[in-house]
Amino acid sequence: MVTMQRTAERQTLKGAVQVEGLSVVYRRKNYENRVLDSIQLSIQPGEFVCLLGPSGCGKSTLLNVIAGFLKPSAGYVLVDQMPISRPGADRGFVFQQYSLLPWKTTFQNIELGLKIRGVPKAERTERVHEYLNRVGLYKHRSSSYPHQLSGGMQQRASIIRALVNSPSVLLMDEPFAALDAQTRHMMQEMLLGIWDDLKTTVIFVTHDIEEAIFLGDRICTMGVHPGRIKSEIPIDLPRPRHFDDTLSKEFLALNRQVFNCIREETMKSMEESF
């Protein structure tokens, strides 16, 4: 019943992503590398999709094309029926590296998108404070430069820096990969909490199977040589999810299923590197 309600809600929301026949090919003299080969992907508004695969499968490349950082060799991406040609604030991006601007305070970093858009000062401050509160960074708002924040705090700030602009889609490129396990679990739960409130579409790249199952509505596993989507696995675990759920029988069964699915590709990518 809850799921149906959610589905109904989503139809009126923004953030539909359509990837059509997308290929990215790097050509050198007499050698070509098909990083992505005819990717077909359709994402519902408000859906949380995880792109999972071994390194070299092109999952980050796909995310960079959706962000508009890279031009595809063939095919196109539609976000809410509009073709993507360049980066924009409608697609928020969270990088794997700590990417806050070192010369701006936490507040100024988060405010930047709104400032660029010309939102008046009072409204900016209110919105930024609301988001800072939501992720527990309020007391670090103006006194701290990024280097004074821990890795987890910096990534929280990066997430709200993207979300404060109300993007249609939030693109996340292994955002928790550099954090320690404990912090990573807390960040995952926090992300799900925010996503549940905002219902923003999320495309989340990871190579961590547990992370993908814990977060996603759906996992797209990707294969190598050429990079392509190999299978789509729906994750029907109930929400809200908690870290304890990762020990449930259903979770473990899914873990095994996804593992088997990407195992072959991982072997392939390992053989390539020897």
Partner: protein, 284 residues
């Protein structure tokens, strides 16, 4: 349940004195710096005292004492006109070099067309030493004063220009920083103002510091050109008249003013970059 308690080791009196000495002297950075100067002058005095002559000859080199007496003579006989002339020349040369070097450097770093149009002739002029400019400075400028300012300008301009260009280019090469701006909806003006300029600040600051040193570096050259006043002029004039202690005094005064002004520039630029923390090995 056995609990081992480490007994307090009785501190010996000399150990304590060692600690006191350590905190008062070795742990004290101003002390270490003064010590460095004392060693420098001490070694110099020693080499003069023993008439050191082994490949390098110190027999005719004025000792620190002789230089000190020359300095006392100099400062008691109305030195301000000399200081003022020199400081003025360096200041105007440096100011022009900073403004032009930074503006041109930013434009060359940011716009490909500006790079193509301006950089080749500048690269051609860059290796030319300031002293080689003296004849042209005399021919080009309406008076000696502006010619001298031009010579100090030449010294300061190129380090400033190159550091600024490199700073802008290295910020532009940081893909993540630029992408951060792009996916927040920044146009190229925003990226320029909010990312490229602050990102190249450390590099511009080092250009400003090096440029300050180089402006002083060129002072003697500038004051060879003409004039009656100036610390560099005194140095050159004493050489011509074979009066050695004032030469070394002039050198040291230029060194001192250069060091002080570079230090001031360093402090000022650090104040502009409060986000930077510098932790050195062995630092507190």
């Amino acid at each position: 349940m056995a609990v081992t308690v480490s007994k307090p080791v009785p501190t010996r009196w000399f150990g304590r004195i060692g600690d006191v000495l350590k905190t008062l002297f070795w742990g004290n950075r101003p002390f270490r710096r003064v010590l460095a100067l004392m060693i420098f002058f001490g070694v110099w005095q020693f080499l003069c005292a023993i008439n050191f002559d082994f490949f390098i000859n110190f027999q005719l080199i004025p000792s620190p004492w002789e230089v000190l007496f020359a300095t006392i003579d100099f400062v008691t006989s109305d030195p301000w006109i000399h200081f003022r002339s020199s400081i003025q020349r360096v200041f105007f040369g440096y100011l022009a070099a900073s403004v032009l070097g930074i503006i041109l450097g930013v434009l060359i770093g940011w716009f490909e067309a500006v790079e193509d149009l301006f950089l080749p002739p500048l690269e051609l002029l860059r290796p030319i030493p300031a002293v080689a400019w003296i004849p042209l400075a005399i021919l080009m400028f309406p008076n000696a004063e502006s010619g001298m300012v031009y010579i100090t300008f030449i010294g300061a301009f190129f380090p400033m220009l190159i550091s600024t260009i490199r700073g802008v280019e290295s910020t532009l090469s940081d893909t993540v920083l630029i992408r951060v701006g792009q996916c927040l909806g920044a146009n190229s003006w925003h990226i320029f103002k909010d990312i490229v300029i602050p990102g190249s600040m450390p590099s511009i600051a080092s250009g400003l510091t090096i440029g300050m040193g180089n402006a002083w570096f060129c002072l003697v050259t500038a004051e060879i050109l003409a004039g009656r006043y100036g610390v560099g002029y005194i140095t050159w004039e004493s050489y011509v008249t074979s009066n050695y202690p004032p030469i070394v005094m002039g050198m040291l005064l230029i060194g001192l003013m250069g060091a002080l002004s570079s230090w001031a520039v360093g402090r000022a630029t650090n104040a502009l970059m409060p986000w930077r923390v510098i932790n050195k090995q062995g630092g507190g």
